[in-house]
Amino acid sequence: MSARLPRDVHPVAWWLWAIGLATAASLTTNPLVLMLLIGVATVVVMARRSDQPWARSFRLYVWLGVAIVVLRVVFRLVFGGSYPGTVLFDLPRIPLPDWVLGVSLLGPVTLEALLAGLYDGLRLATIVICIGAANALANPKRLLRSVPPALYEIGTALVVAVTVLPQFADSVRRVRAAQSLRAGETGRVRRLRRFVVPVMEDALERSLALAAGMDARGYGRAAGLTAAQRRTTGALMLAGLCGVCVGVYALLDLTAPRFLALPMLGLGVVVAVAGLVSAGRRVERTRYRPDRWRWPELAVVASGVAVGVVGWWVNGHQLLIAYPDLSTAPEISMVALVGGLLGAAAAAAAPPPREVAA
């Protein structure tokens, strides 16, 4: 049972789980299913988030979701003038000039228009909340750090960029306060200069200090690659990426020849993975206490994938459950209910988070 001792679950597992939930949410407008998914995501976050700063971001995503729903409904009110159905109340229609043909403001408000807005907004809000759940459960920086060794440089650059943002905000605040302590130009453009020059100088100095610090600690030591090896790796990566691009394009454009679609995509992925492996094998770097894949990670991913698969099945086979009629109360099927609840299994499977003394 050592896999269930308090520890951090692999960040990739949480993200795959969240993507499964988001997929299910994107394939339905049934408010009952969507609320179920939001509920499941919330329960898992509450049960398994740590007390680190990023874990508190979940609330922000919930508020963002609420804002999305409200906005959608308001838009339907303002622009959805001619939606047929039960009229709830009549607002005066505001005529618009000819060049915005087909758009009208206000007008009679129907129950169906509001419900359509509500369902639609709820779908988007659920997707956002699922992403928020992943963010709260897994440190985004640790996710970046689990990229394959060949992409390590890019991962580090992203980590640094993420770190620099709060420092930048801090620097802006400091300079603004400092500039108020002295007299100087007050014109619109010149005042901007007063403000931008010290902030930029500060940012530049910081980046140089960081670059010097990283270099002095061995970042980017020569990995002993020969020119031929480097060329092979580069060629493999490029060919792989081209293959993936062509494959995705053909998959979406139904007029393209079919042999360019899935086969090309598959081939591209295989070549790109070969490139990554070839580059990664020659990297001399090691990783300190890497996150490990054990059965709880697999269970978390499985629960997310199960939710996604059930959502996809409902979308194909129970059309009225996935996209309920606006004129009647929505219903939920046994399959959809059980499918949604499967997501909560992640909370049971994942070990509790590590306690961190503040």
């Binding site: 680190q52 700063p53 920086k141 580090t156 980590v159 640094v160 770190t163 400091r174 300079v175 306060a177 400092a178 500039q179 108020s180 302590l181 002295r182 007299a183 100087g184 130009e185 200069r193 007063r194 403000f195 020059v197 010290p198 100088e201 500060d202 910081r206 140089l208 200090a209 960081l210 670059a211 010097a212 610090g213 990283m214 270099d215 002095a216 600690r217 061995g218 970042y219 980017g220 030591r221 020569a222 001399e284 770097r285 090691t286 990783r287 300190y288 206490r289 890497p290 590590r354 961190v356 003394a357």
Partner: protein, 520 residues
């Protein structure tokens, strides 16, 4: 172990180092010293390889590691031999928790996971930071950050540790902790240490050898006692020894005490403090950032014509208090009265005329290309004030090219041109050498004599002794002691300057001892 041979470095026509020879042996602590701007950081950079790669300039001569030249080796390929900790440790952090930061260097070197784990645990214990292992690096105090930065280069087991001003941002106690850690590394692990430091009084007792940059690009190398006899920059204790004619010069407080027993001095006359009219009165001022209370119901009176020093460990709320007194920082409770109005109720432009503040990072105030443009933007009279503070700064020079002290004076002139009655300074002594500190203390004294009330936040006990009339010591947002500088310094040994430590309570400054010696 590491040998610099005839190292010469310069930017275009301006030479910085000329024919420097220096050998660093195993298990030795070498102190690099000299006035501001003579190239101490450059010398350290040559050893780490960051100069000329990150600075530009031309470098000649040779750098040998066990007889093999590494002059053209990139810093990253020296990382397993040379560990470097910069002036601001927080600027060099790559990861976000202590444990990951300690492991970062080893990951780059490709060490096996088991030895990484072992070394991280050893280093956590060695530096006494085991309880910080999961902490976010940005939430650590200055002293803790410095120790983590040292730890993060130690894990790769370098043979030489290079530190640039490791204690300049630290309060006296944290500085002693960091220095004790360094000595322990030298003694227990046999690591060599090359350290540049302005505040010699902190480091000299620990140094095996000194490397003194004389200003013409050359260096003198020798034992601290030899070099300090003639050095232009010396700690107060050596000044005292020179004045009293002690030979050999004492380098530690203990040695000096033994010598001082022979001295028979009449105590200095106690200056009678006249009650100064209050220029600023703060009552029950409270500042909190979220759940942390930075300043808690604090009472403070600043007398016109007095210089008050504000001391306390890193994070004790000094900066928050200064910004609240200035009026920009929001206070939750309390009142501030000045001769004009509560500064918090004024517009920024009027606030400047009441309370002036020189922030910790003085260059945040500057944004133009030349000193003349800055003075013109500051308003009529700025140049005159600047010339009175530090005469002879060329008007066409770029503010970033000025020395630390000159840049500070320029920023101070821009603040003073609004003619505030109260002047607040936040850590102005960072990066200043003894001469610059002495002239800053003269500037503050002149301001006070003009009737200004001056409050200066500082970690530097020697500067406090030199410049202040009164001292306020803060801890956890509250005042723990306040009063005339002699009394406070006598009460808390941690804030006592070296002369007080050697000679006992009423003595504060070397100048007083010199005067007493002359009359005796």
């Amino acid at each position: 172990m590491i040998e610099l041979r005839d190292i010469t470095f310069g930017y275009d026509e301006r030479p910085v180092l000329a024919g420097v020879d220096l050998t660093i042996d195993d298990g030795e602590l070498v102190l690099v010293s000299g006035p501001t701007g003579v190239g101490k950081s450059t010398l350290l950079g040559v050893v780490t390889g960051l100069v000329p790669r990150f600075s530009g300039g031309t470098l000649s001569g040779d750098l040998l590691l066990d007889g093999v030249s590494i002059l053209r080796t990139a810093p990253r390929d020296r990382a397993h031999v040379v560990g470097y900790v910069g002036q601001d440790p927080a600027a060099g952090f790559v990861t976000d928790t202590v444990e990951e930061e300690l492991a970062y260097g080893m990951e780059q070197l490709g060490l096996a996971p088991e030895s990484m784990r072992r070394r991280v645990e050893e280093t956590l214990d060695l530096l006494g930071i085991a309880e910080l292992r999961h902490r976010d690096l940005r939430t650590l105090s200055g002293g803790q950050q410095q120790r983590v930065a040292i730890g993060s280069v130690l894990t790769t087991h370098p043979r030489l540790l290079v530190l640039d001003e490791p204690t300049s941002a630290l309060d006296p106690t944290a500085a002693e902790d960091v220095l004790a850690t360094l000595t322990r590394l030298v003694h227990d692990l046999g690591v060599s240490v090359l350290v540049a430091e302005h505040r010699l009084e902190r480091v000299v007792p620990f140094a095996d050898r000194m490397c003194l940059l004389t200003g013409d690009g050359r260096v003198q190398v020798g034992t601290p006692a030899e070099l300090l006899a003639h050095s232009p920059v010396v700690p107060p204790i050596v000044d005292l020894g020179r004045a009293a004619g002690w030979d050999p010069l004492p380098l530690t407080v203990r040695e000096a005490r033994r010598e001082a027993r022979a001295l028979d001095l009449t105590p200095p006359p106690q200056p009678t403090l006249v009650a100064a009219p209050a220029a600023l009165t703060a009552r029950r001022v409270t500042v909190s950032h979220g759940h942390t209370v930075a300043v808690r119901e604090l009472d403070l009176t600043l007398g016109a014509g007095l210089v008050t020093a504000l001391m306390g460990r890193n994070g004790s709320g000094k900066s928050s208090l200064l910004w609240a007194l200035q009026g920009t920082g929001r206070r939750q409770h309390g009142s501030i009265t000045t001769s004009d109005a509560d500064p918090a109720r004024l517009e920024a432009a009027q606030r400047r005329n009441v309370v002036g503040l020189l922030p910790q990072n003085a260059s945040d105030l500057l944004y133009l290309e030349t000193v003349d443009e800055e003075c013109a933007a500051g308003g009529a009279g700025t140049r005159a004030i600047l010339d009175r503070l530090v005469p002879g700064i060329p008007g066409d020079s770029h503010p970033r090219d000025l020395s630390e002290g000159q840049r500070l004076a320029l920023a101070l002139a821009l603040v003073l041109v609004a003619r505030p009655h109260v002047v607040l300074l936040d850590e102005p002594t960072r990066g200043l050498d003894y001469a610059a500190k002495r002239s800053l203390s003269g500037i503050l004294r002149a301001l006070a004599d003009d009737g200004h009330a001056v409050l200066v936040a500082t970690h530097d006990v020697e500067f406090t002794a030199l410049a202040a009339d009164e001292v306020v010591v803060m801890a956890e947002g509250e005042v723990v002691s306040s009063g005339p500088v002699r009394r406070v310094v006598a009460e808390s040994p941690a804030f006592a300057p070296q002369v007080t430590k050697v000679l006992g309570a009423p003595w504060l400054l070397v100048d007083e001892v010199v005067a007493a010696l002359e009359t005796a």
